[in-house]
Amino acid sequence: MDLSGSRQILQPVRLSTIIASFAIALLLNFLPWRDLRVVPDFVGLVLVFWCVRQPRLVGLGVAWTLGLITDAGNGVLLGQHALAYSLAAFLGIWLSRRILWFGAGLQALHVGAILLVAQGVSLLVRLAAGDEFPGWAIVASPIAAALLWPFVSWLLLLPQRRPAREQTI
Protein backbone atom coordinates (compact mmCIF):
# COMPACT_ATOMS: atom_id res chain seq x y z
CA MET A 1 0.00 0.00 0.00
CA ASP A 2 1.23 3.43 -0.88
CA LEU A 3 1.68 5.52 2.24
CA SER A 4 2.13 8.89 0.59
CA GLY A 5 -1.27 8.54 -0.97
CA SER A 6 -0.36 10.28 -4.18
CA ARG A 7 -1.14 7.29 -6.36
CA GLN A 8 -4.36 6.49 -4.69
CA ILE A 9 -7.65 8.03 -5.68
CA LEU A 10 -8.82 10.04 -2.73
CA GLN A 11 -12.23 11.24 -1.80
CA PRO A 12 -12.79 14.98 -2.09
CA VAL A 13 -11.67 16.84 0.99
CA ARG A 14 -14.27 18.14 3.41
CA LEU A 15 -14.02 21.72 4.60
CA SER A 16 -14.66 20.58 8.16
CA THR A 17 -11.47 18.47 8.06
CA ILE A 18 -9.40 21.50 7.11
CA ILE A 19 -10.96 23.71 9.79
CA ALA A 20 -10.58 21.02 12.46
CA SER A 21 -6.94 20.43 11.54
CA PHE A 22 -6.15 24.14 11.84
CA ALA A 23 -7.96 24.33 15.19
CA ILE A 24 -5.97 21.36 16.52
CA ALA A 25 -2.71 22.86 15.21
CA LEU A 26 -3.43 26.17 16.97
CA LEU A 27 -4.24 24.24 20.13
CA LEU A 28 -0.93 22.36 19.94
CA ASN A 29 0.89 25.65 19.47
CA PHE A 30 -0.75 27.11 22.56
CA LEU A 31 0.19 24.16 24.80
CA PRO A 32 2.52 25.20 27.62
CA TRP A 33 5.75 23.83 26.12
CA ARG A 34 9.00 23.79 28.07
CA ASP A 35 11.56 24.79 25.48
CA LEU A 36 9.86 26.49 22.58
CA ARG A 37 12.81 26.56 20.27
CA VAL A 38 12.72 22.84 19.51
CA VAL A 39 8.94 22.47 19.28
CA PRO A 40 7.72 22.37 15.67
CA ASP A 41 5.35 25.06 14.50
CA PHE A 42 2.24 22.93 14.01
CA VAL A 43 0.20 25.68 12.38
CA GLY A 44 2.93 26.28 9.80
CA LEU A 45 3.21 22.57 9.10
CA VAL A 46 -0.54 22.03 8.64
CA LEU A 47 -0.76 25.19 6.56
CA VAL A 48 1.96 24.00 4.19
CA PHE A 49 0.26 20.61 3.98
CA TRP A 50 -3.05 22.08 2.85
CA CYS A 51 -1.36 24.54 0.51
CA VAL A 52 0.42 21.63 -1.16
CA ARG A 53 -2.63 19.36 -1.25
CA GLN A 54 -5.46 21.85 -1.80
CA PRO A 55 -3.98 25.03 -3.26
CA ARG A 56 -7.41 26.13 -4.44
CA LEU A 57 -9.05 25.90 -1.03
CA VAL A 58 -6.27 27.07 1.30
CA GLY A 59 -4.24 30.02 0.20
CA LEU A 60 -2.57 33.17 1.31
CA GLY A 61 -5.68 34.71 2.88
CA VAL A 62 -6.05 31.78 5.28
CA ALA A 63 -2.31 31.90 6.01
CA TRP A 64 -2.42 35.58 6.78
CA THR A 65 -5.41 35.28 9.11
CA LEU A 66 -3.84 32.36 10.98
CA GLY A 67 -0.64 34.36 11.28
CA LEU A 68 -2.47 37.28 12.83
CA ILE A 69 -4.19 35.03 15.39
CA THR A 70 -0.82 33.47 16.25
CA ASP A 71 0.74 36.92 16.61
CA ALA A 72 -1.99 38.18 18.92
CA GLY A 73 -2.06 34.96 20.94
CA ASN A 74 1.69 35.05 21.52
CA GLY A 75 1.99 38.77 22.05
CA VAL A 76 4.58 39.29 19.34
CA LEU A 77 4.62 42.08 16.76
CA LEU A 78 1.41 41.99 14.73
CA GLY A 79 2.29 40.82 11.25
CA GLN A 80 5.37 38.78 12.04
CA HIS A 81 3.77 35.35 11.69
CA ALA A 82 1.33 36.74 9.14
CA LEU A 83 4.26 37.55 6.87
CA ALA A 84 6.04 34.26 7.53
CA TYR A 85 2.91 32.15 6.96
CA SER A 86 1.99 34.07 3.79
CA LEU A 87 5.42 33.32 2.40
CA ALA A 88 5.21 29.66 3.46
CA ALA A 89 1.79 29.35 1.84
CA PHE A 90 3.04 30.94 -1.36
CA LEU A 91 6.02 28.58 -1.53
CA GLY A 92 3.74 25.64 -0.76
CA ILE A 93 1.35 26.54 -3.58
CA TRP A 94 4.17 27.31 -5.97
CA LEU A 95 5.96 24.01 -5.30
CA SER A 96 2.86 21.88 -4.79
CA ARG A 97 3.10 20.00 -8.13
CA ARG A 98 6.79 19.35 -7.58
CA ILE A 99 6.47 18.24 -3.97
CA LEU A 100 3.69 15.75 -4.66
CA TRP A 101 5.90 14.03 -7.21
CA PHE A 102 8.34 12.86 -4.53
CA GLY A 103 8.15 10.25 -1.79
CA ALA A 104 7.59 11.10 1.86
CA GLY A 105 11.28 11.64 2.69
CA LEU A 106 11.99 14.13 -0.09
CA GLN A 107 8.66 15.83 0.55
CA ALA A 108 9.78 16.38 4.12
CA LEU A 109 13.02 17.91 2.87
CA HIS A 110 11.07 20.43 0.78
CA VAL A 111 8.73 21.25 3.64
CA GLY A 112 11.65 21.71 6.00
CA ALA A 113 13.21 24.17 3.57
CA ILE A 114 9.93 26.12 3.24
CA LEU A 115 9.52 26.36 7.01
CA LEU A 116 13.15 27.35 7.38
CA VAL A 117 12.62 30.24 4.96
CA ALA A 118 9.52 31.29 6.94
CA GLN A 119 11.51 31.11 10.18
CA GLY A 120 14.25 33.20 8.54
CA VAL A 121 11.73 35.90 7.62
CA SER A 122 10.49 35.89 11.22
CA LEU A 123 14.07 36.25 12.40
CA LEU A 124 14.71 39.19 10.06
CA VAL A 125 11.59 40.94 11.30
CA ARG A 126 12.66 40.52 14.93
CA LEU A 127 16.22 41.64 14.24
CA ALA A 128 14.86 44.72 12.46
CA ALA A 129 12.65 45.40 15.48
CA GLY A 130 15.71 45.46 17.72
CA ASP A 131 15.75 42.00 19.29
CA GLU A 132 18.89 39.97 19.60
CA PHE A 133 19.62 36.68 17.86
CA PRO A 134 18.22 33.87 20.02
CA GLY A 135 20.81 31.26 19.03
CA TRP A 136 21.00 28.55 16.41
CA ALA A 137 18.53 26.39 18.29
CA ILE A 138 15.71 28.05 16.34
CA VAL A 139 16.76 25.94 13.34
CA ALA A 140 15.61 22.90 15.31
CA SER A 141 11.94 23.84 14.98
CA PRO A 142 11.71 23.53 11.16
CA ILE A 143 13.76 20.32 11.29
CA ALA A 144 11.39 18.84 13.88
CA ALA A 145 8.46 19.89 11.69
CA ALA A 146 10.04 18.21 8.66
CA LEU A 147 10.51 15.01 10.67
CA LEU A 148 6.82 15.11 11.56
CA TRP A 149 5.75 15.61 7.93
CA PRO A 150 5.27 11.93 6.91
CA PHE A 151 3.13 11.29 9.97
CA VAL A 152 1.12 14.49 9.58
CA SER A 153 0.44 13.90 5.89
CA TRP A 154 -0.68 10.34 6.65
CA LEU A 155 -2.93 11.57 9.44
CA LEU A 156 -4.50 14.43 7.51
CA LEU A 157 -5.21 12.25 4.47
CA LEU A 158 -6.90 9.62 6.61
CA PRO A 159 -10.41 11.13 6.32
CA GLN A 160 -10.09 11.18 2.53
CA ARG A 161 -9.07 7.54 2.12
CA ARG A 162 -11.60 5.09 0.79
CA PRO A 163 -12.01 1.87 2.69
CA ALA A 164 -9.74 -0.87 1.33
CA ARG A 165 -12.73 -3.05 0.50
CA GLU A 166 -14.08 -0.41 -1.85
CA GLN A 167 -10.77 -0.13 -3.65
CA THR A 168 -10.50 -3.76 -4.54
CA ILE A 169 -13.82 -3.68 -6.33
Partner: protein, 306 residues
Protein backbone atom coordinates in the same frame (compact mmCIF):
# COMPACT_ATOMS: atom_id res chain seq x y z
CA UNK B 1 -10.90 39.42 -30.39
CA UNK B 2 -11.22 38.55 -26.75
CA UNK B 3 -8.56 36.24 -25.40
CA UNK B 4 -9.60 36.14 -21.78
CA UNK B 5 -10.39 32.66 -20.53
CA UNK B 6 -14.02 31.80 -19.84
CA UNK B 7 -15.08 32.55 -16.23
CA UNK B 8 -15.04 28.79 -15.71
CA UNK B 9 -11.24 28.90 -15.23
CA UNK B 10 -11.00 32.12 -13.30
CA UNK B 11 -8.99 31.70 -10.10
CA UNK B 12 -8.47 35.27 -8.99
CA UNK B 13 -5.14 37.06 -9.11
CA UNK B 14 -1.89 35.13 -9.55
CA UNK B 15 -0.22 33.73 -6.41
CA UNK B 16 2.72 36.10 -6.76
CA UNK B 17 0.41 39.11 -6.81
CA UNK B 18 -1.36 37.78 -3.74
CA UNK B 19 1.97 37.27 -2.00
CA UNK B 20 2.90 40.88 -2.67
CA UNK B 21 -0.48 42.03 -1.42
CA UNK B 22 -0.34 40.07 1.84
CA UNK B 23 3.35 40.74 2.42
CA UNK B 24 2.85 44.47 2.09
CA UNK B 25 -0.20 44.25 4.32
CA UNK B 26 1.90 42.43 6.95
CA UNK B 27 4.74 44.89 6.66
CA UNK B 28 2.35 47.82 7.03
CA UNK B 29 0.88 46.19 10.14
CA UNK B 30 4.36 45.55 11.51
CA UNK B 31 5.34 49.18 11.12
CA UNK B 32 2.05 50.40 12.56
CA UNK B 33 2.39 48.06 15.53
CA UNK B 34 6.07 48.65 16.22
CA UNK B 35 6.20 52.39 15.64
CA UNK B 36 2.81 53.85 16.41
CA UNK B 37 0.96 51.23 18.45
CA UNK B 38 -2.33 51.93 16.68
CA UNK B 39 -3.05 48.24 16.28
CA UNK B 40 -3.90 47.55 19.94
CA UNK B 41 -7.64 47.41 19.28
CA UNK B 42 -7.19 44.86 16.51
CA UNK B 43 -4.84 42.89 18.75
CA UNK B 44 -7.43 42.76 21.53
CA UNK B 45 -10.04 41.40 19.14
CA UNK B 46 -7.67 38.79 17.78
CA UNK B 47 -6.66 37.78 21.29
CA UNK B 48 -10.33 37.34 22.12
CA UNK B 49 -10.68 35.12 19.04
CA UNK B 50 -7.70 33.02 20.15
CA UNK B 51 -8.99 32.73 23.72
CA UNK B 52 -11.16 29.59 23.32
CA UNK B 53 -8.27 27.75 21.68
CA UNK B 54 -5.91 28.84 24.47
CA UNK B 55 -8.39 27.71 27.11
CA UNK B 56 -8.82 24.38 25.35
CA UNK B 57 -5.05 23.95 25.16
CA UNK B 58 -4.61 24.31 28.90
CA UNK B 59 -7.43 21.86 29.67
CA UNK B 60 -5.47 18.62 28.99
CA UNK B 61 -2.68 19.79 31.29
CA UNK B 62 -5.22 20.43 34.03
CA UNK B 63 -6.79 17.05 33.32
CA UNK B 64 -3.44 15.28 33.73
CA UNK B 65 -2.97 17.11 37.02
CA UNK B 66 -6.44 16.06 38.16
CA UNK B 67 -5.77 12.42 37.28
CA UNK B 68 -2.45 12.57 39.09
CA UNK B 69 -4.06 13.94 42.22
CA UNK B 70 -6.76 11.25 42.06
CA UNK B 71 -4.12 8.54 42.32
CA UNK B 72 -2.11 10.19 45.08
CA UNK B 73 -1.91 7.92 48.07
CA UNK B 74 -3.14 8.43 51.61
CA UNK B 75 0.41 8.51 52.98
CA UNK B 76 1.41 11.23 50.53
CA UNK B 77 -1.59 13.31 51.50
CA UNK B 78 -0.92 12.91 55.22
CA UNK B 79 2.73 13.89 54.76
CA UNK B 80 1.80 16.88 52.65
CA UNK B 81 -0.84 17.94 55.13
CA UNK B 82 1.68 17.84 57.94
CA UNK B 83 4.19 19.83 55.95
CA UNK B 84 1.61 22.45 55.07
CA UNK B 85 0.47 22.71 58.66
CA UNK B 86 4.03 23.36 59.81
CA UNK B 87 4.38 25.95 57.07
CA UNK B 88 1.12 27.63 58.06
CA UNK B 89 2.35 27.83 61.64
CA UNK B 90 5.55 29.63 60.68
CA UNK B 91 3.60 31.86 58.33
CA UNK B 92 1.12 32.82 61.02
CA UNK B 93 4.03 33.75 63.29
CA UNK B 94 5.48 35.86 60.51
CA UNK B 95 2.09 37.44 59.89
CA UNK B 96 1.71 38.38 63.54
CA UNK B 97 5.11 39.98 63.60
CA UNK B 98 4.36 41.71 60.33
CA UNK B 99 1.13 43.12 61.64
CA UNK B 100 2.83 44.50 64.73
CA UNK B 101 5.59 46.03 62.61
CA UNK B 102 3.06 47.41 60.15
CA UNK B 103 1.08 49.12 62.89
CA UNK B 104 4.26 50.56 64.29
CA UNK B 105 5.40 51.81 60.90
CA UNK B 106 2.00 53.34 60.29
CA UNK B 107 2.20 55.21 63.56
CA UNK B 108 5.68 56.47 62.80
CA UNK B 109 4.58 57.58 59.35
CA UNK B 110 1.77 59.55 60.92
CA UNK B 111 4.22 61.15 63.31
CA UNK B 112 6.53 62.20 60.49
CA UNK B 113 3.61 63.22 58.32
CA UNK B 114 4.44 61.08 55.31
CA UNK B 115 1.66 60.13 52.95
CA UNK B 116 0.03 56.92 54.05
CA UNK B 117 0.71 53.88 52.01
CA UNK B 118 -2.38 52.26 50.57
CA UNK B 119 -3.06 48.56 50.72
CA UNK B 120 -1.80 46.62 47.74
CA UNK B 121 -4.56 44.57 46.18
CA UNK B 122 -3.61 41.18 44.78
CA UNK B 123 -5.45 39.37 42.00
CA UNK B 124 -4.63 35.66 41.88
CA UNK B 125 -4.14 34.37 38.36
CA UNK B 126 -3.24 31.12 36.67
CA UNK B 127 -0.50 30.84 34.09
CA UNK B 128 -2.03 29.64 30.84
CA UNK B 129 1.04 29.18 28.66
CA UNK B 130 4.42 30.65 27.81
CA UNK B 131 4.59 32.96 24.84
CA UNK B 132 5.70 31.04 21.76
CA UNK B 133 8.47 33.46 20.99
CA UNK B 134 12.16 32.61 21.39
CA UNK B 135 13.08 36.30 21.29
CA UNK B 136 11.26 37.42 24.41
CA UNK B 137 10.38 35.97 27.80
CA UNK B 138 6.66 36.24 28.32
CA UNK B 139 3.81 34.31 29.80
CA UNK B 140 0.09 34.59 29.62
CA UNK B 141 -2.27 34.61 32.58
CA UNK B 142 -6.01 34.03 32.65
CA UNK B 143 -6.92 37.40 34.14
CA UNK B 144 -7.51 40.47 31.99
CA UNK B 145 -9.05 43.91 31.87
CA UNK B 146 -12.45 42.56 32.92
CA UNK B 147 -10.89 41.28 36.16
CA UNK B 148 -9.20 44.60 36.91
CA UNK B 149 -5.68 43.91 35.67
CA UNK B 150 -3.98 47.03 34.39
CA UNK B 151 -0.85 47.41 32.27
CA UNK B 152 2.25 48.00 34.37
CA UNK B 153 1.09 45.99 37.38
CA UNK B 154 3.84 43.92 39.00
CA UNK B 155 3.37 40.15 39.06
CA UNK B 156 4.72 37.96 41.87
CA UNK B 157 4.52 34.41 43.09
CA UNK B 158 4.92 33.17 46.65
CA UNK B 159 8.69 33.75 46.65
CA UNK B 160 9.25 36.99 44.75
CA UNK B 161 8.81 39.11 41.66
CA UNK B 162 7.99 37.24 38.46
CA UNK B 163 7.61 40.19 36.10
CA UNK B 164 5.31 42.94 34.98
CA UNK B 165 2.05 43.06 33.05
CA UNK B 166 2.88 44.64 29.71
CA UNK B 167 -0.32 44.16 27.74
CA UNK B 168 -3.87 43.63 28.88
CA UNK B 169 -6.55 41.99 26.77
CA UNK B 170 -10.17 41.60 27.88
CA UNK B 171 -9.73 38.06 29.26
CA UNK B 172 -5.98 37.39 29.30
CA UNK B 173 -2.91 39.47 29.95
CA UNK B 174 0.67 39.28 28.92
CA UNK B 175 3.41 39.26 31.55
CA UNK B 176 6.98 40.13 30.60
CA UNK B 177 9.24 38.09 32.86
CA UNK B 178 11.93 39.70 34.96
CA UNK B 179 14.48 37.73 32.91
CA UNK B 180 13.47 39.43 29.65
CA UNK B 181 16.24 41.62 28.29
CA UNK B 182 14.05 44.70 28.11
CA UNK B 183 12.67 44.39 31.62
CA UNK B 184 14.15 46.54 34.38
CA UNK B 185 13.33 46.46 38.10
CA UNK B 186 14.67 49.05 40.57
CA UNK B 187 16.17 47.08 43.45
CA UNK B 188 17.92 47.59 46.71
CA UNK B 189 20.48 45.43 48.50
CA UNK B 190 18.91 44.26 51.77
CA UNK B 191 22.23 44.32 53.65
CA UNK B 192 23.11 47.98 53.11
CA UNK B 193 20.30 49.63 51.17
CA UNK B 194 22.40 50.16 48.04
CA UNK B 195 20.12 50.99 45.11
CA UNK B 196 20.52 49.51 41.62
CA UNK B 197 18.49 48.48 38.61
CA UNK B 198 18.16 44.79 37.76
CA UNK B 199 17.91 43.99 34.06
CA UNK B 200 16.90 40.66 32.57
CA UNK B 201 19.70 38.44 31.34
CA UNK B 202 17.80 37.02 28.37
CA UNK B 203 18.12 33.34 27.51
CA UNK B 204 20.38 32.60 30.50
CA UNK B 205 17.45 32.99 32.90
CA UNK B 206 19.39 35.28 35.21
CA UNK B 207 19.21 38.93 36.18
CA UNK B 208 22.01 41.43 35.82
CA UNK B 209 22.88 44.64 37.61
CA UNK B 210 24.31 46.91 34.97
CA UNK B 211 26.34 50.04 35.57
CA UNK B 212 27.38 49.15 39.10
CA UNK B 213 30.65 50.88 40.00
CA UNK B 214 33.49 48.40 40.28
CA UNK B 215 34.02 49.29 43.92
CA UNK B 216 30.33 49.13 44.87
CA UNK B 217 29.65 47.41 48.17
CA UNK B 218 28.01 44.27 46.90
CA UNK B 219 28.80 40.66 47.74
CA UNK B 220 27.87 37.21 46.60
CA UNK B 221 24.64 35.93 48.21
CA UNK B 222 23.38 39.45 48.82
CA UNK B 223 19.61 39.54 48.64
CA UNK B 224 17.96 42.13 46.39
CA UNK B 225 14.44 43.45 47.00
CA UNK B 226 12.39 46.03 45.15
CA UNK B 227 13.19 49.54 46.29
CA UNK B 228 9.74 50.90 45.45
CA UNK B 229 11.03 54.28 44.32
CA UNK B 230 9.70 53.75 40.82
CA UNK B 231 6.13 53.85 42.05
CA UNK B 232 5.30 50.65 40.19
CA UNK B 233 6.63 47.86 42.36
CA UNK B 234 5.70 47.97 46.03
CA UNK B 235 8.87 48.09 48.15
CA UNK B 236 10.35 45.02 49.78
CA UNK B 237 9.45 42.26 47.34
CA UNK B 238 12.30 39.76 46.93
CA UNK B 239 13.75 39.95 43.42
CA UNK B 240 17.03 38.04 43.27
CA UNK B 241 20.15 36.77 45.01
CA UNK B 242 23.61 37.75 43.79
CA UNK B 243 25.26 34.71 42.22
CA UNK B 244 28.64 36.07 41.15
CA UNK B 245 30.41 39.36 40.64
CA UNK B 246 32.95 39.89 37.89
CA UNK B 247 35.22 42.84 38.55
CA UNK B 248 37.44 43.65 35.63
CA UNK B 249 40.28 46.18 35.72
CA UNK B 250 39.49 47.18 32.14
CA UNK B 251 35.91 48.14 32.90
CA UNK B 252 34.67 50.89 35.14
CA UNK B 253 31.63 48.77 35.95
CA UNK B 254 31.33 45.47 37.73
CA UNK B 255 29.22 42.74 36.18
CA UNK B 256 26.80 41.40 38.77
CA UNK B 257 24.86 38.26 37.88
CA UNK B 258 21.87 37.33 40.04
CA UNK B 259 19.54 34.38 40.36
CA UNK B 260 15.83 35.34 40.37
CA UNK B 261 14.12 34.67 43.69
CA UNK B 262 10.79 33.67 42.16
CA UNK B 263 10.19 30.63 40.03
CA UNK B 264 10.18 32.77 36.93
CA UNK B 265 9.88 29.80 34.58
CA UNK B 266 8.05 27.48 36.96
CA UNK B 267 4.85 27.54 38.93
CA UNK B 268 1.25 27.71 37.78
CA UNK B 269 -0.16 30.46 39.97
CA UNK B 270 0.87 34.10 40.28
CA UNK B 271 -0.43 37.23 41.95
CA UNK B 272 -1.05 40.45 40.05
CA UNK B 273 -0.52 43.39 42.40
CA UNK B 274 -2.41 46.60 41.87
CA UNK B 275 -2.03 49.57 44.10
CA UNK B 276 -4.03 52.75 44.02
CA UNK B 277 -1.33 55.07 45.30
CA UNK B 278 -1.43 58.60 44.00
CA UNK B 279 1.69 59.22 41.98
CA UNK B 280 3.19 62.67 41.58
CA UNK B 281 3.46 63.88 37.97
CA UNK B 282 6.65 62.96 36.21
CA UNK B 283 9.27 65.68 35.78
CA UNK B 284 9.34 67.49 32.44
CA UNK B 285 12.79 66.54 31.19
CA UNK B 286 12.27 62.90 32.05
CA UNK B 287 9.16 62.91 29.83
CA UNK B 288 11.05 64.46 26.94
CA UNK B 289 13.84 61.91 27.28
CA UNK B 290 11.33 59.10 27.34
CA UNK B 291 9.71 60.30 24.13
CA UNK B 292 13.06 60.31 22.43
CA UNK B 293 13.93 56.87 23.67
CA UNK B 294 10.56 55.41 22.83
CA UNK B 295 11.06 52.64 20.37
CA UNK B 296 7.50 51.52 20.12
CA UNK B 297 7.53 49.39 23.23
CA UNK B 298 5.41 49.61 26.29
CA UNK B 299 7.93 47.73 28.40
CA UNK B 300 9.04 49.20 31.68
CA UNK B 301 6.23 51.66 31.42
CA UNK B 302 7.41 53.90 34.17
CA UNK B 303 11.05 53.49 33.39
CA UNK B 304 13.85 52.81 35.82
CA UNK B 305 14.57 55.61 38.24
CA UNK B 306 18.21 56.13 38.94
Amino acid sequence: MDHTPPPFFKRGPAPLVRLFFFASLSLALLVIDARFRYAEGLRSWLALAAYPVQRAATTPVELVGAIGSFFSTQAQLVAENERLRAKALTYSQHAQRYEAAYAEAEQLRKLVGVQERLEVRAIPAEVMYNGRDPYAHKLFIDRGATHGVRPGSPVTDETGVVGQVTRVHPLVSEVTLATDRDQAIPVQVVRNGLRAVAFGGGATGTLELRFMAANADIQTNDRLVTSGIDGTYPPGLPVATVMRIERDAENAFARVVCRPAAGVDRGRFVLVLTDETVKPPRPEEAQAGKEKLRRGRARDKDGPVR
